[in-house]
């Protein structure tokens, strides 16, 4: 097993090998899945039959929608009805005809006291890019309310808004990345922030800050490398110098350095690479294994 790619050719050969192995695994998985679908077609389960019947029947769909609107129905029953509607929404030929009624019911559930029901409703509406839900979610991500008191936690609200690129308020996301209410919100904000000159400094600061969660920081080396290679190399050298092996980001930094494709900074790249190799050579075995896993992920 290779410890660290000494040059780009070696890395490419290794990645090609991995790719071919992964291709074989994927095709096996595909054939198994197709087999399962064919088996199911021959003898669908009772549950599947029931779902297919509902999906084709407008009256039954209306009944389920009425359960969602009915204030006297129990939460469990509502949750069941919503789950069924949610499940058949991708293949039902009749659900689109009742879409206004379904959307009306889902909007009604946005303020439901039950968290699960509420989140499922928000999530269904977000996938439909429903504007009323989007406006509510936008209000929630900028709200100073406590996370536990919010109708939808900030990180989930960002993820739901992410279904529609136009719905995201980038200024609000930047603000969340600067002052996140929790780590999950930071990670989600970083996933949806645009990576450009405006956000570069913010992303660089987050990457260098070892108090931030590694899930957030590990996203950034390759992004920053693409935005400004020289600044990324400077950041990498600073982190190696200040934190050394104590920083979990080092393998991700190495991954970022390996993926650099520019020629004009080759001296600086080589210098950083040699720094990293020196550091890794002195590292304990488990660190080396971890680094291998990150550089050459197994599928």
């Amino acid at each position: 097993m290779m410890m660290f790619p000494m040059n780009l050719t070696q890395t490419k050969i290794y990645l090609l090998k991995l790719k071919s192995r992964f291709k074989m695994e994927t095709s096996e998985y595909k054939s198994k899945l197709l087999q399962r679908i064919q088996d199911n077609k021959k003898s669908p389960s009772i549950e599947s039959k029931r779902l297919l019947e509902i999906a084709k029947d407008e009256n039954k769909l209306n009944l389920l929608i009425n359960i969602l609107n009915d204030a006297d129905q129990s939460i469990d029953k509502k949750q069941d009805a919503l789950n069924v509607l949610n499940a058949i929404s991708i293949f039902s030929p009749k659900l689109p005809t009742t879409k206004p009624a379904f959307v009306n019911a889902l909007r009604g559930l946005m303020a439901n006291e039950n968290r699960n029901l509420r989140l499922t409703a928000f999530s269904c509406l977000a996938i439909m890019k429903d504007e009323i839900a989007q406006e509510r979610l936008k209000e929630l991500i900028v709200s100073s309310e406590d996370e536990s008191a919010k109708l939808v936690p900030t990180h989930q609200a960002i993820a739901m808004l992410g279904y529609d690129e136009k719905a995201l308020d980038y200024d609000a996301l930047k603000e969340i990345a600067k002052n996140p209410p929790n780590n999950q919100s930071l990670i989600e904000a970083l996933r949806h922030l645009p990576f450009d000159a405006d956000t570069f400094n913010l992303l660089q600061t987050i990457m260098e800050d070892d108090t931030k969660p590694i899930e957030a920081r590990s996203m950034l080396p390759e992004i920053l490398n693409n935005l400004d290679t020289e600044a990324f190399l400077n950041s990498t050298n600073r982190i190696i110098k200040n934190n050394g092996l104590g920083d979990d980001l080092v393998p991700y930094l190495a991954k970022g350095v390996v993926s650099i494709e520019t020629n004009y900074l080759s001296d600086k790249v080589e210098e950083t690479k040699s720094q990293l190799i020196k550091l890794v050579n002195t590292a304990p075995k488990d660190f080396k294994e971890k680094m291998n896993r990150i550089l050459f992920p197994k599928k």
Partner: protein, 554 residues
Amino acid sequence: MSLDRDKQSLTYNSSESEFAAHVDNIKKSFYPNEQSLVNLLSECHPVYKGKSANSVNRMRGYLMASFETVSLPSIALPYILESLTNSFHPYTVAGAAKAVRGIEIPNSNICPYLIKATYNIWRKDQPISFESYYLTWPLRQYSTAVLEILDTLAWMGPNAISVLPELQRLFSNFSHKLDQRTKSKLLNLIESLEYDFPENITENCCKPIQLNLNDTSFYEKKIDGKIFLEDQDGKKVQWDNFFSRKLVVVAFFYTRCINPRKCSLTIYNLVKLQKKLESTNLRDKIKITAITYDPNYDTSATLKCYGISRGFTFSPDHKFFRIPKDFDKVIESFNLGVNFNGTLVNQHRIEFFLIDRKGEVKKSFLRFQIDIDEIITELTNLINNYSEVNKILSKKSKCRTFLNNLMSIVLPIVIAFFPKCPLCWASYLSILGLTGISSIPYSPWLFPLVVIILVLNLCVLFWRSKNGNGFTPLALSLVGTIFLVTIAFSNGVWKWGFIPGLFLLVGGSMLNSLNYSTYQKLKLYFLEFMGDGFRKTVLKIFLFLRKSIKIPTN
């Protein structure tokens, strides 16, 4: 006046609830001010600034729906029909459909727009209510955009007979995709049109009334010709340099627009126009361009990709532009129907303009996509008008240009070489002494004469600067004049000033006599030199001086 008043009452600070209250107040008043509502339909109204696209759609939908109560004036009709044609937003479409019911006399020409809106919206319909702006969900009773359209067609009565085949097609092909309520309403409408109305159609009924779709909101303010545009290759060009010499068809768009009937179709139409012009004699007489509303997102590379993917052929006369700075000036000059939430476009209309060789807007096509044949006819008419006018003016203007150019060069040379002081006089005499006319004496009265001629020259330059090459030639001549006059007062002490004074005076006049495009090219070269070459030269001199001057150290 009323637009100004509205802009004062509802500003960009006004909230959605204030907007809704304003609309509700007008709706409830005994004599509703419908003009005030029409003004709010304008896309560039400040109340929409800083609001999200969803909010703007909802605000406009609510506003349009209010015309059902207050009656729809004909001036508002283009806005309503545009929404029916181009909008995919159920609330806006439902509002527009309701607004049609505010027309005094039903017009059969509106029906095709309603059918178009049905096909736009039926797959993404939503529950809708206009009872109030803010609603509590779930609604107990609600309508949908398609139901509102069908209600409007029913309201049209016999006027909707022209779209009966379309309604029948809709029912036969898509009824299985409509809900029970919509299906039964559609069926009722078809039945009533089939059985009831043919008997009621009289001679006076159902004659289509011509719709006036001219958007009168357009006005033009002279644009600052010094604005820099950046084309799809990243090359910079000044506004006046591109928008001159030929007729220009310009459209506005942005690549992030998700409405398939707006920006994308606008570019496809420019491509169609480009191809059609290829086969005509207008090919080399027309420039075609599109300018983005979103210069921050639409970089040169983005514009190029967008154009190429839609088949646009780029050439020196066919370009896409972004205006990184001063786009506000363009918005103001063209009164563009666009509004922003930060840098994101939150709403816009379709906008095409025909600009003549002087950079003036001659015709605008707003809100609806262009008809290629119509635009070619317009272009042909404009070119024919020009050639006729040009024939008459060409002889006169050639003479005038020649005289102007001659005067602007000859006059400063005469002034420059005119003896202005005893010293000049002595110099001339020493030269002329060779020819034997050295006996002419210096007359002090010649000095005021020279000053008068100098002032006259400056006045001519000032007068020509407005329509000519700007104030730079005037400034150069002014400095030259100051030099020459100073020599006269200095009794020969500052006689060295004669040469620069002469150069500046003649140079200024020569620049003024250049034609506009040559002058602009010269100016660009100079600016480039100043921007890059000049900086490098100064840096080299500075480094050379730093090397050669050794600073003593302690």
